[in-house]
């Protein structure tokens, strides 16, 4: 290696700090790297620049160029070599710069990363994390606003999670890094700048658990990633008592927690930015219907993107679920 920057220590985060979601991810990675020398960060522009969203800011200065790797511009290469690093005992945390650019890596993720454990009869584990900033709402150009989670949730062998707030960002990322299985980790890019106090001593719920983020009795809103906040705002704006559940884990789903909420309220609306057709909402609706049929006052309804490619930014407010569309759908479950 040439020109390795001398590692420079910065004090790890302690106590409770108010952090943006992006900084919380950064702090989570920093802690994971400090605790385990096998943890590596790799991706395009993650080193010197600190990532286009600054999520890896300062990590290269602190841990050096061998552990925070600016890779050539090739996503298949990033994931393929991460698999190789994992085979050699490392725990790579890969950054895909934007959701729309994960597809060149789809081959390595789907045909290799997801299946190697099974093929080796459990003798090979691949603790690789694939971080993907996802979702729209930032006025971006094409391929920078997509929600590709269903493709990965559909692929057995991958765990898929989505954080929605700084506390989960901090804890779930550390858990994903420690996880022996490959984890596709979705980050809601339009929430990167949202702030919350993060207590570095009080772990959040395990990343596999769904969490009730707002209690209610009349209907359940199921959401994840960027839509959790939108659902909370919708619930706040409505006169009915709406419960909001943050799925957090998309594969596997925490079905017992989802079912418990729906049994209580009797109505359920699933909200995501991804297209409704073939999206996670369909899987969730089917499972809820099967498990809670006699508790349901209305069919499980879905709010999400249309069966169109993600539109040009001047149309994205029409495409993205907002308070009105969510509450309109809640109305429909009451009018059933």
């Amino acid at each position: 290696m040439t020109e390795v920057t001398a590692p420079e220590q910065s004090a790890p985060l302690t106590g409770t700090q108010t952090l943006t979601l992006a900084k919380a991810l950064n702090a989570g990675m920093r802690r994971a790297m400090a605790e385990d020398p096998k943890v590596l960060v790799m991706g395009e522009d993650v080193g010197r620049l600190g990532g286009v969203f600054r999520v890896t800011d300062g990590l290269q200065r602190e841990f050096g160029e061998d552990r925070v790797i600016d890779t050539p511009l090739a996503e298949s290469g990033i994931i393929g070599t991460a698999i190789g690093m994992a085979l050699r005992g490392y725990r790579p945390v890969c950054e895909i710069q934007f959701d729309g650019f994960v597809f060149p890596a789809a081959n390595q993720i789907i045909t290799q990363l997801a299946k190697m454990r099974l093929r080796s009869l459990g003798q090979v584990t691949l603790p690789v994390v694939v971080r993907i900033p996802c979702g729209g709402g930032i006025g971006a150009v094409e391929h920078h606003s997509e929600s590709p989670e269903a493709y990965f949730a559909h692929t057995a062998g991958l765990r898929v999670v989505a954080c929605s707030n700084p506390v989960d960002a901090y804890w779930m990322l550390q858990e994903a890094i420690a996880c022996p299985d490959p984890v596709v980790f979705f980050e809601p890019k339009r929430r990167y700048w949202d702030k919350a106090p993060v207590d570095t001593e009080a772990p959040a719920a395990p990343m596999g658990d769904a969490v009730v983020v707002r209690e209610g009795t009349d209907a359940t809103l199921l959401a994840y990633g960027p839509m959790v906040k939108t659902c909370l705002e919708a619930a706040e704006a409505d006169d009915r008592s709406l419960e909001v559940v943050d799925l957090r884990s998309l594969s596997p789903l925490d079905t017992p927690a989802l079912e418990a909420s729906v049994r209580k309220t009797g109505r359920c609306v699933v909200v995501h930015e991804a297209p409704v057709f073939g999206g996670l909402g369909g899987e969730i609706a089917a499972r809820i219907t099967e498990a809670c049929f006699y508790h349901l006052e209305a069919p499980v309804l879905r709010v999400g993107g249309f069966a169109t490619p993600y539109p040009a930014s001047r149309l994205e407010d029409h495409y993205l679920p907002d308070l009105d569309r969510i509450l309109d759908t809640v109305d429909r479950t009451f009018a059933w």
Partner: protein, 366 residues
């Protein structure tokens, strides 16, 4: 470290006009242009720079979501763009605004994309200029396939057939798609020119993160010629591209051109290059400015006088003012545009969703 990957050594760099405006001859690249053609090239360079700066300004005012500036790459784009024939097809990235200009495409079309009005929206056939491509490297395969189509049309190899020209960056050379396109083009001897604008940076990553050898030398390994040209020299870019296009047209197959240039601005308007590169690098490249050298040459040889330069500046300023007005007058798309043009044939699900959304929106007017 292989130094010559990122230092243009004079011996391997095709240059016809030095940064000081001195005209050189190159045995392989003879170029004779009329006085008028030389002045027109200067005019192109000045106008596209003005339109580019105006686009940056429009972004700063919030009128565009983002702008990838071509500042510093005018000569690479105008030189190659002016070498093309009417039937040739360009496959651009997202930064080839000056090539679009040379192809006669209104700059406003590009603003629509970066304003978020649509995703491109122009007809590639009208201008011989394909849609902008944001997913790095993908267009090089499209260009190769297009060239293979040309091969099957009939005129191929006769010198009158069309060709394809694929643009891409130094960063893109790492993508599998780009390397696959080299394989395809070589194997089928496709009539294509690969034009790599090596602007030394892929966002924050310097060239040495993509290669240990000069990029143009990669071609040899794939089985076709590669050449490195001074990308800030419009004459050399024109001559080298002409020759590569001619090779393609006469059935001699693909070529790779590495235009050695520099991204003078940020990667896009959202980027902050002070985080990763030193300003002295920029200062050094400013001395190699693609426009200044043409101006020096035209002045020194008496091909143009102060009045001409003044007139070009006025023309460029007027074009910028016009562009601004046209941008501000762009209407927002109607919500129904969401559902248009996704499929060529009717689609049940889409029509269902379109109808439901129309009803939903109508509910707000009740």
């Amino acid at each position: 470290m292989t130094v010559d990957a990122h230092t243009a050594r004079d011996a391997e760099l095709v240059q016809l006009l030095t940064p000081e405006g001195e005209r050189l001859e190159h045995p392989d690249y003879p170029l004779s242009l009329s006085d008028q053609q030389l002045r027109d090239l200067y005019r192109d360079l000045v106008v596209v720079r003005a339109l580019d700066l105006e686009s940056v300004a429009l972004t700063r005012r919030g009128e565009l979501g983002l702008w990838p500036s071509l500042l510093g790459q005018e000569a690479a784009q105008v030189g190659s763009g002016r070498a093309l024939g009417a039937g040739d097809m360009v496959f651009p990235t997202y930064r080839e605004h000056a090539v679009a200009y040379c192809r006669g495409m209104p700059w406003l079309n590009i603003l629509r994309l970066f304003r978020g009005v649509n995703h491109a929206g122009w007809d590639p056939k009208e201008f011989g200029f394909h849609l902008y491509t944001i997913v790095i490297g993908t267009q090089t395969l499209h260009a190769t396939g297009y060239a293979m189509g040309i091969q099957r049309d009939g005129h191929h190899g006769t010198g009158i057939g069309d060709t394809a020209l694929a643009y891409f960056g130094d960063g893109a050379t790492s993508q599998g798609d780009v390397n696959e396109s080299f394989v395809w083009a070589a194997v089928y001897n496709a009539p294509i020119v690969f034009f790599c604008q090596n602007n030394q940076w892929a966002i924050s990553e310097p060239l040495e993160r993509q290669t240990r050898i000069p990029l143009y030398r990669r071609a040899q390994g794939f089985g076709f010629p590669g050449v490195r040209v001074d990308g800030n020299d419009v004459l050399a870019c024109l001559a080298v591209t002409r020759r590569a296009l001619d090779r393609a047209r006469t059935g001699q197959g693909p070529s790779l051109i590495e235009a050695f240039t520099y991204r003078m601005g940020a990667h896009t308007t959202t980027d902050d290059p002070t985080r990763y590169r030193h300003s002295d690098e920029l200062e050094a490249w400013k001395l190699k400015d693609p426009i200044a050298r043409v101006k020096a040459y035209l002045s020194r040889t008496g091909l143009a006088n102060a009045q001409f330069f003044e007139e070009v500046d006025v023309q460029a300023a007027e074009a910028a003012v016009e562009l601004r007005a046209a941008c501000l007058a762009l209407p927002d798309p109607s919500p129904d545009a969401l559902f248009q043009h996704v499929y060529a044939a009717p689609h049940r699900l889409l029509e269902e969703e379109r109808a439901a959304y129309e009803t939903y929106l109508a509910g707000f007017h009740d």
